[in-house]
């Protein structure tokens, strides 16, 4: 049995706890949070030890692994503490506030033989796994242009209470929402060679951006666009759409559907010339326990498998997390270097 603890018991912390608590090889024994309400109920209803200090939790509980689901600003400190106690670490996205923190974590991991993973759950989503394998097979030929769009009705009021509206805590649309889209670029296409034309817009938030557009350039001539907006009430829930045009065809995908166009009969099995269409309902691989989406269970079960089988996490390691944090830094720097188009002061100052 692997003994685990969860640091940060918000929306993702409770999801991870629920999923791992049903894993046959896992015993969750500790929760750490700053809220008295959470701690009291964790003791009463979850039968775990509750801590206000992650230092104390890691120092006393002898944990095999830790799930870090705090506000982003705390990720580096908690993860460093976990590494120092030789605990395997799963950290929510984005990995850290800046690449320097990420580089330090990787330095600390050297020679440690610990499993490390970042919670970019879309990498474990059935539809995007399909897209990844299609792109890797070269089926649509040389990539020419692509778009990643992320939209959602996440922030629809002028709000400032939560850490998600403080830039210093890792709030804002870029870190907290669009990081999934940035990571998808890194995962599906690779890191861009240049980031240009970034614009941040504020819609409701006083000190962070609510919408982003950015252009990614590649040395081979390919171009990508990221469009993200967490204040779009026309969406019922957060959505992610990927579209890629290659010389031999096109892929369009979201959480439910994928469409693939081939100009000629493709070499990959199961597809034909012209439009091909597939649905999540047709390709979803079952998981052992389902909360909020297949990908959440799949990423955690993969993390546990890596620990049990003593293998390195290949799908979304800290190296991948750092790569995404570096792209985020370039977007931030590019966007902060110009004024947003609606005349507001940009969010970088």
């Amino acid at each position: 049995m692997l003994r685990g603890g969860v640091v940060g018991f918000g929306r993702m912390g409770i999801t991870h706890f629920s999923i791992l608590n049903t894993h046959p090889s896992v015993e969750l024994v500790a929760v750490c949070d700053s809220s008295g309400f959470v701690l009291k109920n964790a003791i009463q209803h979850l039968g775990v030890k509750a801590f206000r200090s992650f230092d104390k939790m890691l120092g006393t509980m002898g944990l095999d692994f830790v799930i870090v689901a705090t506000p982003t600003a705390m990720h580096a400190d908690v993860t460093e503490c976990a590494i120092s106690h030789n605990a395997h670490v799963f950290v929510e996205k984005p990995m850290t506030l800046n690449p320097e923190q990420g580089e330090r974590l990787l330095e600390l991991l050297k020679g440690k033989n610990l499993v490390h993973q970042v919670g970019y759950a879309i990498r474990f989503h059935d539809v995007f796994l399909k897209v990844k394998s299609l792109l890797d097979s070269g089926a649509i030929g040389e990539l020419l242009t692509f778009t990643v769009e992320m939209n959602g009705p996440v922030v629809l009021h002028d709000a400032r209470g939560s850490w998600r509206f403080k830039k210093t805590e890792g709030g804002g649309c870029l870190y907290d929402f669009a990081s999934h889209g940035v990571d998808l670029v890194s995962y599906l296409v690779g890191p861009p060679d240049d980031v240009v034309g970034t614009v941040f817009n504020r819609i409701h938030s006083a000190s962070v951006e609510d919408a982003i557009s950015s252009t990614f350039l590649y040395r081979n001539g390919a171009r990508g666009n990221l469009l993200a907006n967490w204040s779009d009430p026309s969406y019922r829930k957060p959505s992610c759409r990927f579209e890629a045009l290659g010389r031999k065809g096109k892929i369009i995908a979201d959480f439910y559907t994928y469409k693939v166009l081939f100009h000629e009969a493709p070499e990959v099995a199961g597809y034909s010339e012209g439009w091909n269409e597939g649905y999540l309902a047709d390709i979803a691989e079952p998981v052992r326990f389902y909360v909020r989406g297949f990908q959440f269970t799949r990423q955690l079960d993969y993390f546990i498998d890596c620990i049990l089988e003593q293998k390195a996490c290949e799908t979304c390691s800290f190296e991948a997390g750092l790569c995404t944090d570096m792209i985020i830094r370039r977007i931030r720097t590019d966007g902060d270097s110009r004024r947003s188009h609606n005349g507001q002061n940009h969010t970088g100052r």
Binding site: F9, G10, R11, I14, T15, F17, S18, I19, N21, T22, S35, G36, F37, V38, K40, N41, Q44, H45, L46, G47, P153, V154, V155, L156, H157, A159, G161, S162, W163, R164, S234, R236, K237, S239, R241, D254, F255, Y256, T257, Y279, L280, A281, D282, A284, P286, V287, R288, F289, Y290, V291, R292
Partner: protein
């Protein structure tokens, strides 16, 4: 228990096959009147039972029912709560405790809640999860005041989170509260039916109503279709089937035949928005279950 229930996903732009289709449904049903028209069509097809998530527009639909008591005298509502995205967004904006405070203490319609800032000493901080759960149920049940509610469903994300927690007391107290306060059966939506049924039975919740995806392709049937079929055949509970079409992966005829011939399925919740589809589905289920077609008493045929 009603055997055929019309669900509400189609009214609120929820479509698990296509976001575009979802959006076009949301456009079609942007006026509550358009929703009422479909409800009236379902009524004409013999349906008397409706499942509503506690979406912020459901209050307007319920106002219409309350304003026309003669017309909807035999209407039965199966609420499913909470509408998860409402809470998810509030938690995002206010944090967990802030969101709970807003929902529990606002006493306003859910539409207004998101913009409510709670001041003063009233807070959930000093309460435990069970007390908060009861306050949330009461807040959501205000939407359905004065209407007939045979069973109250715990929405699947919450059910499955709590199932993962193993929070036995919360399930037991939810069941007791719903029964005592509203005279309704406790009921549960889930994506993990076999595990939930075992857990509820082991917790002493007898013959529970459990609504889950049941379809021929095994979509959203965790851990497997086989485990579902075994639970249906062997466990003492009242199964209700949803997502029978697996988001369109199966033809309606095949879908209905599969579900209707499984042992012990007590009810089917389905979503449709045209007269043709509603009438067809009612006809198919009725004939497969041999419960008579489109009579005014159809919904009582259990």
């Amino acid at each position: 228990m009603d055997r055929i229930i019309l669900g509400d996903n189609q009214f609120f732009g929820i479509n698990h096959m296509s976001e575009e289709k979802g959006r076009s449904l949301a456009m079609r049903f942007r006026d509550t009147e358009a929703i009422i028209r479909v409800i009236d069509i379902a009524y004409a097809c013999g349906i008397r039972a409706f499942m509503f998530n506690t979406h912020d527009r459901v209050e307007e639909i319920c106002d219409h029912f309350r304003a026309n008591p003669g017309r909807y005298a035999d209407l039965r509502i199966y609420p499913s709560m909470p509408y998860a995205h409402k809470y998810a967004n509030a938690i995002h904006e206010k944090g967990l405790v802030g969101a709970l405070n807003a929902f529990v203490f606002s006493g306003r319609s859910v539409r207004q809640v998101a913009t409510t800032v709670i001041r003063g000493g009233r807070t959930v901080i000093n309460k435990n999860m069970v007390e908060v759960m009861k306050l949330l149920v009461d807040a959501e049940m205000r939407i359905f005041r004065g209407l007939t509610v045979p069973a109250v469903f715990l929405q699947n994300i919450v059910t499955d989170l709590l199932l993962g927690f193993g929070a036995r007391e919360v399930f037991v107290e939810f069941a007791r509260h719903v029964k005592r306060t509203y005279g309704a059966d406790p009921a549960f939506n889930t994506m993990n039916m076999p595990a939930l049924v075992d857990f509820l039975l082991a917790s002493g919740i007898e013959n529970p109503i459990v609504c889950s995806s049941i379809n021929k392709t095994g979509f959203l049937m965790t851990p497997s279709r086989h485990a579902y079929e075994r639970a249906l055949a062997q466990k003492p509970f009242r199964p209700m089937a949803m997502s029978i079409l697996a988001s369109g992966a199966i033809s309606p005829k095949e879908a209905v035949e599969y579900v209707c011939h499984l042992p012990n399925v007590r009810a089917i919740v389905f979503g449709a928005s045209s007269e043709e589809h509603i009438a067809q589905t009612v006809e198919m289920i009725s004939s497969n279950w041999n419960i008579g077609v489109s009579t005014r008493k159809l919904a009582d045929a259990s």
